[in-house]
């Protein structure tokens, strides 16, 4: 095994070992603190391996693979399991392990109030998540990627439902799992189609154009679920029932970005299917605009960030649809940093005021200056203020979209850029400026375990954009920041959005269209459509089938077999109710089948 492969294996196996240890040693897990130590040590090892791996690679180096056969049919290998190290997986590994480590350290302080058992369980889930995510990132083929993909979904289910005693949390966990699994069926079928038509699960396979379109559309269905694209996005806001650090790691920085990562990874396949690209372009643009609209009126700080995540994932998906895998991947990286920062800063605030509601905050800038600065950096970066990380990646996406599909997606995303700056400005004003509310008056900054990760994440959130060229060379793409009309427009809109938010909310006002949006939000149209699909379509169908089964089929059987069964009165002596109906079912089914045989 070569050194890079070994390092990648360490990055995957360290958290797996921690998870296994915590599962097999309940005594250790129930102690609480040792579980956190084990989990964080494993993440540290993972991060170390990822950094060594990434720094040891020179740009343009060929990919390193180390695989062992997993499934074999005779002498033919159907699928392999192992690691595939190239620029993309190395860079992604660093992002994932870095954010994971920050979040876990933050969690030590944030979850301190938990009972010791819960504390241990929390870190066991975290170790499981990091293992699954790394397994996904280094996957040498789509099958292993899918296995990791399903496992991060499981970890997400467990972590959203962490407060399972709360019915809303349990409901949200099931909803998230179900919605993403629904979408995953697309991937499952896509993999089946890919394998049957090309004989492998590799993303370098080259099926015919029609098959490629079918496969990529099916894969994209899975991406829509995991990356919360309209109309499958409804689970993400609900997922905020989980602990805030979990939202930062899974539902902002890493897991939800797995969909984008899948498309980047399988880019050779997606390049064969321009139709899928168009679909992605529109889905991404619509999601970005729609989610940003709903983010404008949320009163829960985490919900604002959740809708913002949907919206930003929409940007990435649109970029991928435009055929620029690098733009999507770049934004994935910068977004992971600044969104994790925003969530952790929000967690710090929630920890201090014991509420998610923006109305309970206000004036926190004096009581929590460090958090305020960190959150501010996140806001400016997300808004796309020139010089900060978000500016570079977002503008790259907008530039890539120029002229696509009649400029409509481009225009939608520019509008979204304004909305983004506006809603983030609103959150900052409501939470940190103005007069403190009753709860916010006693807030104070937490210890180093909480502020440390904020500082660590604030650095890349600010400066990561300047490394865009380096990253491009590293993953084998090309990137030149250029300053044409689009970046100028976008940064003007971003600044205008922030200024507008300060002007409106700084004076305690509300925008005119807020009521309309709030109604839209309260209506939860998409949510209702899904609920309708379940309660009226599925349960209705089940009911109809049941009725059909009970009355029509039974009736039919009674009619056909009545005479026969009348004779067998021995059966009627038995007073068990419907037993004869069952016998009739068998008889009538057989009669129908043999009629078929005679007639055909």
């Amino acid at each position: 095994m070569t050194t890079p492969a070994l390092l990648a294996v360490i990055a995957v196996c360290a958290p797996a070992a921690a998870a296994l240890l915590l599962v097999l040693a309940p005594a250790l897990r129930r102690q609480g603190a040792p579980a956190a130590v084990a989990c964080i040590a494993a993440s540290l090892a993972s991060l170390g391996a990822a950094l060594a791996l990434a720094l040891g690679r020179s740009p343009g180096e060929p990919a390193v693979r180390h695989v062992v056969p997993w499934l074999q049919a005779g002498s033919r290998t159907i699928a392999e399991v192992g690691v595939h190290v190239d620029g993309i997986s190395a860079a992604m590994l660093v992002v994932v392990t870095l954010v994971a480590l920050c979040v876990q350290v933050f969690s030590v302080a944030y979850m301190r109030g938990e009972a010791r058992r819960g504390f241990g369980r929390y870190f066991a889930y975290h170790a499981l998540f990091l293992f699954s995510m790394n397994l996904l990132v280094v996957a040498p083929n789509l099958l292993q990627l899918f296995v990791g993909w399903e496992l991060v979904g499981l970890a997400s289910y467990l972590l959203i439902g962490f407060y399972f005693a709360k019915p809303s949390a349990a409901r949200a966990a099931v909803k998230a799992f179900w919605m993403t699994k629904l979408a995953d069926m697309g991937i499952l079928v896509g993999l089946v189609v890919l394998f049957v038509s090309t004989g492998s699960f590799e993303w370098t396979a080259t099926p015919e154009p029609a098959v490629a379109t079918a496969v990529t559309l099916l894969l994209f269905l899975g991406v829509m679920g995991k990356s919360a694209q309209f109309p499958l996005h409804v689970w993400l806001p609900d997922a905020m029932e989980g602990p805030t650090p979990v939202s930062a790691l899974l539902h902002a920085a890493t897991m939800v970005a797995a969909g984008v990562f899948l498309v980047v990874r399988a880019h050779p396949l997606f390049e064969l299917a321009p139709t899928t690209g168009d679909v992605m372009l529109w889905v991404g643009a619509v999601t970005a605009a729609f989610a940003a609209g709903l983010a404008l009126v949320q009163t829960d700080i985490k919900k604002v960030l959740a809708y913002s995540t949907c919206s930003q994932l929409g940007y990435m998906v649109a970029a991928l649809g435009a055929g620029s895998a690098f733009a999507g991947f770049f934004h994935l990286g910068t977004h992971a940093c600044f969104k994790a920062l925003l969530f952790l800063a929000a967690g710090s605030v929630i920890h201090a005021v014991h509420s998610n509601e923006l109305a309970e905050m206000g004036g926190l800038r004096r009581r929590m200056p460090l958090t305020a600065v960190a959150f501010g950096i996140g806001v400016l970066s997300l808004a796309g203020v020139p010089g900060l990380a978000g500016f570079f990646s977002k503008d790259l996406i907008l530039t890539e979209l120029e002229g696509r599909a009649g400029w409509v997606p481009w225009a939608l995303l520019l509008l979204t850029a304004f909305a983004t700056a506006f809603y983030m400005g609103r959150v900052f004003v409501l939470a940190f400026l103005g007069a403190p509310s009753a709860r916010a008056g006693h807030a104070h900054e937490a210890g180093l375990a909480m502020t440390g990760p904020l500082i660590v994440l604030a650095v890349p959130s600010a400066v990561a954009g300047f490394f865009g060229g380096g990253l491009a060379a590293y993953v084998g793409a090309s990137y030149e920041p250029h300053f044409g009309l689009t970046p100028l427009l976008a940064s003007t809109l971003a600044l205008a959005g922030i200024v507008a938010a300060v002007l409106v909310y700084g004076r305690g006002r509300e925008v005119a269209f807020a009521d309309a949006l709030r109604r839209l939000d309260r209506a939860g149209a998409v949510d209702r459509a899904w609920k309708l699909l379940y309660s009226s379509a599925l349960l209705w169908l089940s009911g109809v089938l049941g009725w059909f089964d009970r009355y029509v089929i039974d009736g039919l059987m009674n009619a056909t077999g009545f005479a026969t069964l009348e004779a067998g009165s021995a059966v009627r002596v038995v007073q068990t109710g419907r037993v004869r109906d069952y016998a009739l079912a068998v008889v009538a089914g057989a009669i129908l089948l043999s009629l078929w045989g005679v007639l055909s």
């Binding site: 309940p26 074999q72 296995v147 499981l154 349990a170 179900w178 089938l545 016998a583 045989g597």
Partner: protein
């Protein structure tokens, strides 16, 4: 002793075990514990031996062919037998302590019948084996006739009666159909119907036989006994009933259709496709509103059989291999779920979904086990169910059965609803009783075995897949 007798070595070993259990108890009443552990040891020895010395060859007149194909099923049934005995032990001791030997004897004899099915190449042997498997089950279902759920003790008797009446009816159909088929072919050999063109009467006979097997499988429209029997019969027995006879029905079906009538697929393949699709639709949709965990699993089992039948519909060697893989996954997962339910119900006295509420609090181990089994049923990776589903879909798509693939995938999304609702209720905190759940050693051992199989085969499915392919290749697969 004739030399060919060794092809029945494993069946003879189990029969001998059953007789020893019965006779020992008759001479001097033994404790259930002694008899059960003896049976487990004997079955485990047979299972291990089968990996060292592989019986192979044919019985005179070609009525039975031993080889990798029959061995695969014999091993599967031996494993199911071990789990069945282990799972029943505590219940036998506490509820029906006076006659454990008969219970074990009947279960083992049913097992012998199931083990004979895969190698049978003659109608007479096949039918006798089928009935040997089926008749003891009627008795077992009524074994604790007053031990139904609290408040409804008569359910057990009712469950047994339903199983019996529908079972007898379906046997009658099978035999009637066979009379027509054998009459047309003029031979009791399974492959006796040589000509692809058969008289209408014979084709009616073939479909009657199909109906008879459909009953044991619990496939729609022969599924109606399944939820009622599952709900009423003793749970450890239901665990056995939900896997062994179903696997038996499936193997008989595969042997008859793909070995006996491969040339008549134009007749039976559409019917089988309809049965498979209907099983998936009805099983999954009916499971949705169920409030009793065992009824829910009954319908879920109906749906699962639909998935196996999809693989059989592919009529290819790889399809058969995937069906075998699915079956193994189904056996261990379903056994596991029922045994966990049994453990929980023994302590809380009922199988409504409410009763497993908060199971993970009352016994973290059982809660985690149930979660894992349910995840396997839902097809999450690193549980064997993931591979089973993937393989079945692969085989079906390869054979061009796009309609069945789409039906299966759409309904597996529906299935997630009820699987997740089971998973969720184990985590809910408002359990009626907060008493910890205690399970006996044997029950824990059985659940651990299922867990090990579900996880082990999920992590490394390669060896099982290789075995399944070997068996399918030896069987010769479709036409």
């Amino acid at each position: 002793m004739p030399p060919w007798i060794q092809v029945f070595a494993l069946e003879l070993a189990v029969t001998a075990t059953a007789l020893v259990v019965l006779v020992c108890d008759a001479l001097r009443p033994c404790r259930a514990r002694t008899l059960a552990w003896f049976s487990v040891a004997a079955l485990a020895t047979a299972l291990c031996t089968s990996f060292v010395v592989e019986p192979a060859g044919t019985a005179p007149h070609g009525v039975y062919a031993a080889g990798p194909w029959s061995l695969f099923f014999e091993r599967l049934f031996l494993a199911a037998g071990i789990l069945g005995v282990l799972g029943s032990l505590d219940w036998l001791e506490s509820r029906v302590a006076r006659r454990p030997a008969e219970y074990l004897f009947l279960m083992l004899m049913s097992l012998v019948g199931a083990m004979l099915l895969a190698g049978a190449r003659d109608w007479v042997l096949l039918v006798v084996a089928f009935e040997l498997m089926g008749i003891p089950l009627y008795v077992l279902a009524a074994y604790a006739k007053l031990d139904g759920p609290p408040g409804e003790p008569q359910l057990a008797a009712e469950a047994a009666l339903k199983l019996y009446v529908t079972g007898a009816a379906s046997t009658a159909l099978t035999l009637f159909g066979l009379a027509l088929v054998i009459g047309a072919g003029g031979s009791s050999s399974l492959a006796g119907l040589a000509s692809p063109d058969v008289a209408p009467l014979a084709s009616a006979g073939m479909l009657l036989v199909l109906a008879g097997f459909g009953f044991k499988l619990g496939a729609v429209p022969f599924h109606m006994w399944v939820p009622d029997t599952y709900q009423g019969a003793p749970t450890p027995f239901v665990a056995f009933l939900s896997v062994a006879p179903k696997a038996g029905g499936l193997v008989a079906l595969v042997v008859v259709l793909l070995h006996g009538w491969p040339r008549h697929h134009e007749l039976w393949a559409p019917a089988l496709g309809v049965i498979a699709a209907a099983s998936m639709v009805v099983g999954n949709l009916f499971a949705l509103p169920q409030r009793d965990a065992r009824r829910l699993l009954g319908y879920s089992g109906v749906a699962q059989m639909g998935y196996v039948l999809v693989a059989v519909c592919a009529r290819s060697e790889s399809g058969v291999a995937m069906a075998l893989f699915f079956l193994v996954s189904y056996v261990f997962t379903n056994f596991g779920v029922f045994l966990v339910l049994h453990a929980a119900a023994e302590n809380s006295g009922g199988h409504a979904l409410d009763q497993i509420t908060g199971l993970s609090r009352r016994s973290p181990w059982l809660g985690a086990a149930l979660l894992l089994f349910v995840l396997s049923l839902a097809g999450i990776p690193f549980a064997v169910g993931f591979w089973a589903k993937l393989f079945v879909l692969l085989a079906a798509f390869e054979a061009g059965l796009v309609g069945l693939v789409v039906t299966g995938v759409v309904l597996s999304v529906v299935a997630l609803f009820y699987y997740l609702s089971v998973a969720r209720s184990t985590f809910m905190a408002d359990g009626r009783s907060a008493e910890p759940v205690r399970a006996g050693l044997a029950l824990r051992a059985a659940i651990s075995l299922c867990l090990a199989a579900v996880l082990g085969l999920g992590l490394w499915p390669g060896p099982l897949l290789a075995q399944a392919r070997l068996a399918a290749a030896a069987f010769g697969g479709g036409p």
